[in-house]
Amino acid sequence: MSQTAEQHQSLWLLTASPSIWAAHFVLCYASAAIWCEKFAGLGGSLTAVRLAIVVYSVVALTGIGIVGWIGCGRHRFGDAELPHNADTPEDRHRFLGFATLLLSALSGVAVLFVSLVALFFGECY
């Protein structure tokens, strides 16, 4: 058991979902900005960008889903219940997993909120 805890005390996975959310936002923003400025022009069609945003969103949500799944697995590690607040490597492991799961849920909603914009805008303003 201590071997697993040893392996999984890293904080990195915790940052994965919010990072995917951030990357998704920047990609959407940059794609729309460059497309409208360099290609479509004022009043031009946004269809290409909307399709791109759908693809970005599917990829991002898949990534976030996988991270959340892994987080959930760690949260369920062993048979301890919430709250994971014992001062043991195992509970730290579960706690980080649970936090990863919650951040993944938040990031998933955020990605959906960002991509919602593509639903309402059909042209460059």
Binding site: V109, L116, V117
Partner: protein
Amino acid sequence: MTHHLRELCRGIEPPSQRDSGAKRAEVALPGSAVALLPDGHSRIQSALNPAGVEAAGIENLFWWMVAGTTVVWLGVMALTWHSVRTHPESFNRRREAFIIVGCGAILPTVVLSILLVFGLSALPGLVAPAPSGSLKVVVSGEMWWWRVRYEPAEGQPIILANEIHLPVGEPVQFLLESDNVIHSFWIPSLAGKMDLIPGRTTRLAVTPTKTGLFRGVCAEYCGTSHALMKFDVVVEEKEEFNRWLAHQATPAAPPDNPLAQRGEKQFLANGCGACHTVRGTNAAGVVGPDLTHLGSRLSIAAASWPNDSAHLRRWIADSDKIKPGAYMPKFDMLRSDDVNAMAVYLKGLK
């Protein structure tokens, strides 16, 4: 700072009103239009007093936001109350988890989703261009005033400043520019804000629905006198608007009394024409606001002060006190009767 403010207020009082408390308060009010308006003046700059299609949409959104956030707030308060009142003995894990996840996560997400969809669905309409053929008004943000250029479908563009008239019931296309710093164009009663960004032209379509006087402001900090960078907006019937615009397009009428004639001479002799245009004279400067029909405006110095000869006098002799940092030199070296003549001349440019 306080000292400076006191100076500012004292500086603006015409000498005859020095000791009248009531008058002083009125004159010192920054916001000429307030002092000028007979009644109903308090709501000329309110987004909750919409007089345009766009502002009505924004007001609607505002109330939905208030309602939605009230629901979230009540949820949080109920949770707090519950957590304080619950006895440890009656603690029920499943019920608590349900409350935390329900009120703390799902409810806000649902409410925010509804508000987001509602807000986003309003956006395309707010940023859409006005139909082609609409009246076009180009507004340039200056430090700290507004250059206004009407571009009628036919004929020459008409360059004005600090006051915008609009026909009621018609969409207007504003094109917004700046060659200095970022400003933001906002007429709360008519529409949302739009930034003026150096190197770009931004657009704002506005459809006024009620006649009346409104106030616009610069809504992005742009330097010392940012807070005194305002403008008057007059929404009027189409015929009245056409008459106004046709008149603004004409050159200034030559002054018809000796004092104003002397004022015109002084105006041209003292170099005011290097910065100001008075169409019909040799004054053709473009650094400062066009003054061709200054006398017809509701206020001076970007809606900062009433447009009367007392304030015009103070402005010419002491522009920096009335408007700190203003890019107009003060002409306090001139004889006061010359300044007075210029004020009378300018006030006469109807």
